[in-house]
Point group: C2
Chain length 280, copies 2
């Protein structure tokens, strides 16, 4: 039983909004999509919804209210746009100064600002984990492969790196191989960071681990760390041993396919808890 009557989803890129649609349909609930132009998957067109530019805050809020949505979910990836592509409407212009101030602090600050704006309009803002229960990473090995002692040690280090960067509102990922920090995610995103590991000398990158976890203190309803089939493909392409994500907070989109690909490639996918890092 959901704590909302009708869910509105503001949909950016990647497969997460479609996963939300499927989960909602399985519960026989109505759904409404605000499809962000140039970002949302065209397959979302089959559901009730509207196309909006990122800056059309007025149109977005009005559409959600007209559709009788009482809860809103932000799902999918949104790259920072060029200012000229924002296409702000009046409402968008009104919140722009606050948005830009938040933007200078990092993505986390932007999302916090958006959540507050939606809440001030009376919406319940929910996390994707609440809309789709089985997305959250579980504890331990997910799939056939389990991390060995070296990989567990690398997971601890990479997790500590992301934690140390938390106060700077930086990315959520790092790659460590045999104790050496190969790459740290900042504005370029996880995919670009993974690809970069493939350009390092061979003996550096052999058998590394990608760790994704939320920044400490992050607004957990939005921008949860996500992995999916593309993460597995790229991690395999650059020769990593596996991927570790924080259990109960990171998301796995299309889990069956993720497991299948990881098993095929011989990669582990591992859900860790903070307490595991301390004890291991």
């Amino acid at each position: 039983m959901s704590r909302w009557k009708k869910l509105g989803v503001i949909a950016g890129g990647n497969a997460l909004p479609l996963t939300v649609a499927a989960a909602t349909a399985a519960r026989n609930e109505d759904i409404f999509f605000v499809r962000l132009k140039g970002l949302a998957d065209p397959e979302l067109d089959q559901y009730p919804g509207v196309d909006c530019a990122l800056g059309e805050a007025g149109k977005i809020i009005r559409s959600l209210k007209d559709a009788n949505c009482d809860a809103v979910l932000l799902a999918g990836m949104v790259q920072r746009p060029e200012l000229k592509d924002l296409k702000v409407d009046w409402r968008g212009a009104a919140i722009l100064p606050g948005l830009l101030a938040a933007a200078s602090k990092g993505d986390g600050a932007i999302l916090e600002f958006l959540v507050k704006t939606l809440e001030s309009e009376g919406f319940i803002v929910i996390g994707v984990d609440e809309a789709v229960n089985d997305l959250l990473a579980t504890e331990g090995a997910i799939g056939k492969v389990t991390p060995d002692a070296q990989s567990l040690s690398d997971i601890r280090k990479a997790a500590a790196v992301v934690r140390a960067l938390g106060e700077f509102d930086v990315g959520q990922g790092a790659v460590v191989a045999n104790g050496l920090v190969l790459a740290i995610e900042a504005a370029e995103g996880t995919d670009a960071m993974l690809d970069r590991c493939g350009t390092l000398p061979n003996n550096i990158q052999a058998g590394g681990v990608l760790v994704k976890r939320p920044k400490p203190g992050q607004e957990l309803r939005v921008d949860l760390p996500v992995i999916g089939t593309e993460t597995i493909r790229r991690a395999a392409a650059v020769g990593l041993s596996g991927i570790a994500i924080e259990a109960s907070v990171a998301l796995i989109v299309d889990r069956p396919k993720v497991i299948e690909l990881a098993d095929e490639a011989g990669l582990f996918v591992y859900g860790f808890k903070e307490v595991d890092l301390r004890n291991a």
Copy 2:
């Protein structure tokens, strides 16, 4: 008056070894180069020296002793090689286990291990700042351009990011633009990190600052953060506002040319002190 009789330089890539040669010649001191194969600048061939592979530790130490060197300086960039390219001799094989153990902790640990190995052979290990006094970055604006308030704030943030990563033996650099952490250096090096900033959406990268500083606790005689003409060129190419380095510990190679290029490009080059970061 130097505290050594004859300096031996183990020379990797970039212009730093040539700068050392020029400074030593100006003091009428002898110098001897161990030119690392595939790395050292061919111009070093004009000085007394020997060509060695990275793994030929026995030949390196013997050559330095045969040339009557009592002090050794490690200068120039050394990328981690493929194991098969190391070409270890007997002595190289003997120190390899210790080297590999250090390698798993990071570049800082490798350098510490090399310093200890050289010291155990009776050499004084000196820093490049001792061999070339005027290389060290001075305080304040170096060149015509000075950082504005936003840039000073970005310098503080980037410097704090590098400091926070110190315990992980990661790179020495980060780029921050208008409060947003664009890129953090790990195994890819400063040049690749700068180039990556050019691939981010335009409004992200406008007016960023590159900060280079030593990791806290770093062995300061080797691997000091260095900037040179190439750093200025790349920073200008991706639209940064300037470069800040820690005064008295970071090095500027070919300072006159660095200043000329920076002034032409309208970039600041700024030497900061930890105390400036706190007060500003």
